[in-house]
């Protein structure tokens, strides 16, 4: 199997640090991005995701560290000598040029024949489904259409790398959801390596091959959307992506934890001494209330507290009887109907061991 040496990843980032005065915006970032992948940089504002994108594009080069793209060291290259197309949150369409003028903008200075430029512009606009808008001005298009024009313009020179800087943040929810699919579909068809900066976890989860979760200038976790959601590597990721119960507890045995009077089994043994303080995480939707019998692990008696109707489920607070432990659970409409769950009644609930994430550090 391991005969031929594997090719170097498309983008190789090594020890990249960015300092603004004494503030460290990127702290020793190393990351590989494979050709053709759609990668999202996800994190709260100020986490360094945009700074990293700007370092990759050369708009704000890193203080130290190297970046290689397609086997070429681009660390200190000016923007114009790098190979990328970029789309901004503000679209940055030239308002005084028609859609044709905008998309053709980079093509004209390559000196190719006019007919070829025209053909390429039509091709690109077909790609984003705006061929009929070619002679309009940006202000005459909707936000979503403008963003697609910006996308077509960024792809005009067939760059090796597509950078998307919060591309959907300025759009309303419905358009955003539709464009998510369209951009992802386009990216898959073209097979272009793409990096998207976003603070919207839903966006990152639905569009990406891989997600890079960042916080305070560091990478917290890199993984597929499923890995990030189901197996967060740090309390930060657990908290930032999706909703999560954080419960304080102690390690009772290597695979057993005691949480405020209740005792639970965990799937994987922890490499710490008993008595170590830990944080136990479980997603509200992972709490089980159906088909609990004597053999069910981690089953406890709970009392139902406040039930908040969300639409497709109830966000419900549950209190474990005889302890001070409380957590929230998302109960489906079926659960609530079939089991007759109402505030104040007692039921049984289980926290499946393979759904519990345990961290040795205190919660963020």
């Amino acid at each position: 199997m391991a005969a031929a040496p594997p090719a170097e990843p498309y983008l190789v980032i090594r020890n990249v640090t960015k300092e603004f005065g004494s503030y460290r915006a990127l702290d020793n970032i190393s990351l590989d991005i494979e050709a053709g992948d759609f990668v999202s940089f996800l994190g709260p504002s100020g986490c360094g995701k945009t700074t990293l994108l700007r370092a990759i594009s050369g708009l704000d080069v890193q203080t130290t560290g190297t970046i290689r793209q397609a086997g070429r060291d681009i660390s200190n290259l000016p923007v114009s000598q790098r190979d990328f197309g970029i789309v901004f949150q503000s679209y940055a369409l030239f308002p005084n040029l028609s859609i044709r003028g905008n998309v053709a903008y980079g093509l004209v200075s390559t000196g190719r024949p006019r007919a070829e430029t025209d053909r390429r512009v039509k091709e690109l606009l077909d790609l984003v489904g705006l061929a009929d808008q070619i002679d309009k001005y940006p202000a005459q298009l909707s936000g979503g259409q403008q963003q697609r024009v910006a996308l077509a313009r960024a792809l005009a020179l067939s760059p090796g790398l597509l950078l998307l800087d919060e591309p959907l943040s300025a759009l309303d929810a419905r358009v955003r959801a539709r464009l998510r699919g369209e951009i992802r579909d386009l990216q898959t068809r073209l097979g272009i390596t793409t990096i998207m900066v976003t603070h919207d976890q839903e966006e990152a989860l639905t569009m990406s091959d891989r997600i890079v979760v960042m916080s305070k200038g560091r990478i917290e976790q890199v993984g597929t959307p499923d890995e990030i959601y189901a197996r967060p590597a740090t309390p930060f990721v657990a908290d930032f992506v999706g909703r999560m119960n954080f419960l304080k507890g102690r390690l009772a045995a290597t695979a057993q934890i005691e949480v405020q009077g209740a005792v639970f089994q965990i799937a994987e043994p922890m490499p710490f001494a008993p008595g170590t303080e830990v944080t136990v995480c479980i997603r509200p939707e992972d709490v089980v209330v159906r088909q609990i019998d004597g053999s069910t692990l981690n089953a406890v008696d709970v009392q139902v507290g406040v039930m908040e109707f969300i639409g497709n489920h109830f966000a419900t607070s549950l209190h474990v009887t005889g302890t001070s432990l409380g957590f929230s659970a998302d109960l489906s409409m079926n659960d609530v109907r079939d089991l007759g769950i109402a505030p104040g009644i007692a039921i049984r609930a289980s926290l499946p061991p393979d759904r519990l994430r345990v961290f040795a550090s205190p919660p963020v």
């Binding site: 170097e8 190789v12 020890n15 990328f84 030239f94 990478i219």
Partner: protein
């Protein structure tokens, strides 16, 4: 998918630098070109602004033969009773004029922005009139109105118009539009939600005014106060014409330099004049920043409701002020076309026969047109492109900061002081640039420098409003910056560019202060001719020339209005949705 190789040292021999050496981004042709041009702008501004000021400063510490004498010029100045007295005169004249002007401008601006009185647009236009004429014009008009043979002499109850009264009246007239523009802006950015809250809490109109309106406009008021104060204390036209024996700093410089050829003393007075101007400049910059921070994005513009009594009161008050402005212009016009005002009112154009008078004749008018056109053309190009480079050159922060500083410096330098610095710098035999002395070129350079700052700020504001990512997108598409400049930046900023061109043209036509030291017999200017004819006692021809200036600038303004509604509207079709 190779999720396993996601992070950490890869399984590949990717070179890692042994030492974390700082990354220095290489420059491409764009960067080098932009930096070179930015340095050129810096060099030009250094020569046109900084070095003349330096020459002025060093001159004030020299004797007439050029030897260093320390502070002895300043001691001589302090010992000279007449000269030192001018400081006091200048100060109280400026304070009084400023108080009156800002008060009147506030009332007028309130009428325009916060009431529903009829004719607000017309009132707004009339208030701009004083900008279109040199400050000499109101002074001449006041002489006709209140002078020894004045129509309304009786209104002064035996006081003479020649002196403080005339100066204050003239300055208030001339600075009125400057104050009005600032205060109108401050009053128009108001948050309706505050007024609704105030009304809901049942505050009286007066209380709302005191607790909402005034605090909202306070930075504008302070800014207007300092701007007007600077304009008055550095203005030379009004006191020259109507000041009589009453000396102020600005006329002192002129007398010392032009009258007595005492350049050292001129430099000393110039430096003293620089102090209040610099102070005002610093305060104004600070206020402008606060004013813009005052309005949050979520503010809702306040729309005044009709109120018959208030509207009527403001209509009357504004009407009186507007009529006063129109009267001043009208009197100058009538005096210029009357055979002998006010005794023989038979219309004649003999006062427009400038070739028969001292002051350069019609030639000076054509010189002014040439000078204003060149200033407008060259100035607009240089200033806008300079502002573009300051805003858009990647990195290179120090040089950008330097150019920004040099561009704002002229705002703090009174025209007379700049003109004097030009004499010292460009007339020095040691300076190879002294070939410029006495040419049209030096007048154009001096005028561009004199009015650089406001034009620069206009350009910067316009540039800041366009998307900062245009340049990024262009660079990623490998389009050279100048192509984006000409294809996108320039067309998008066209309205601001035309504003700058008009501003420079009008000011070049009306300015006296800086160029009064720099013209030669071949390059006399219309505004200077007004001064000289008035000096020689040809007051009616002086009024006629002032009218020519006024009519020219007014015509250009109207042309511009037509342009914005016609050609501009068509070429900017993309702005409409």
């Amino acid at each position: 998918m190779t999720a396993a190789s996601a992070i950490g040292p890869s399984h590949l021999p990717v070179p890692v630098p042994a030492l974390a050496a700082p990354v220095r981004q290489r420059l491409d042709r764009n960067d080098i070109l932009m930096r070179a041009m930015l340095c050129t702008v810096a060099l030009c501004l250094t020569v046109a602004v900084l070095l003349p000021l330096w020459a002025l400063l060093s001159k004030s510490f020299q004797a007439s033969d050029g030897t260093f004498v320390g502070l002895s010029n300043f001691r001589a100045y302090a010992g000279h009773a007449g000269l030192a007295g001018s400081i006091w005169n200048s100060l109280w004249i400026a304070v009084l004029s400023t108080l009156i002007c800002v008060l009147l401008a506030f009332v007028y601006a309130y009428g325009i922005t916060r009431t529903r009185m009829p004719g607000r647009a017309v009132f707004r236009m009339i208030a701009q009139i004083p900008l279109l004429a040199p400050s000499l014009l109101p002074a001449i008009s006041l002489v006709y109105l209140f002078g020894n043979q004045g129509l309304a002499k009786g209104l002064l109850f035996g006081q003479s118009i020649y002196g403080p009264i005339g100066i204050v009246m003239g300055e208030v007239f001339w600075t009125f539009p400057h104050a009005l523009i600032i205060i109108t802006t401050a009053l128009s950015i108001s948050d309706a939600r505050l007024y609704e809250a105030s009304e809901a809490l049942r505050a009286t109109g007066w209380r709302t005014f005191r607790t909402v309106t005034l605090p909202g406009a306070r930075y504008g008021l302070i800014s207007a106060t300092f701007v007007v104060f600077t304009l008055v204390i550095t203005d030379f036209g009004v006191p020259k014409v109507i000041g009589g024996q009453f000396n102020v700093l600005a006329t002192d410089i002129y007398k010392q330099v032009v009258g007595q050829q005492n350049f050292q003393m001129g430099a000393v007075v110039g430096l003293i004049l620089l102090l209040p101007a610099v102070l005002a400049f610093l305060v104004d910059r600070r206020m402008q920043q606060r004013q813009s921070a005052l309005l949050s994005i979520r503010a809702v513009p306040h729309a005044p409701k009709p109120d018959r009594r208030t509207d009527l009161v403001f209509l009357v008050v504004c009407l009186v002020m507007a009529l006063a402005i129109l009267t001043v212009i009208l009197v100058a016009f009538l005096a210029s076309v009357a055979t002998f005002w006010p005794y023989n009112l038979v219309p004649t154009f003999k006062n427009y026969d400038f070739d028969m008078m001292d002051g350069g004749g019609w030639g000076s008018y054509y010189n002014s047109l040439t000078m204003a056109a060149l200033t407008s053309l060259i100035g607009t190009s240089v200033i806008f492109f300079g502002a573009y480079l300051v805003e858009k050159t990647p990195r290179f922060q120090r040089m950008r900061g330097l150019v920004q500083f040099l561009a704002l410096l002229p705002l703090a330098v009174p025209g007379l002081v700049l003109g004097l610095g030009y004499i010292f710098f460009f007339n020095s035999p040691a300076n190879p640039l002294n070939v410029l002395y006495g040419t049209m070129a030096i007048l154009v350079i001096c005028t561009i420098s004199h009015f650089y700052s406001v034009a620069h700020l206009t350009a910067v504001t316009a540039l800041k409003q366009i998307d900062p990512e245009f340049e990024t997108v262009s660079a990623s598409l490998r389009v050279p910056f100048y192509r984006t400049f000409f294809r996108v930046t320039l067309p998008v900023c066209l309205p601001a560019i035309l504003d700058i061109a008009i501003y420079l043209f009008v000011n070049a036509m009306t300015t006296v202060s800086a160029v009064v030291f720099l013209y030669s017999p071949d390059t006399t200017l219309a505004a200077v001719a007004v001064l000289n004819m008035d000096d020689a006692g040809d007051v009616a021809p002086a009024a006629a020339m002032a009218m020519m200036i006024f009519l020219t600038t007014a015509a250009v303004r109207f042309l511009y209005l037509g342009l914005t509604r016609g050609i501009l509207a068509r070429s900017q079709a993309w702005r409409a949705r």
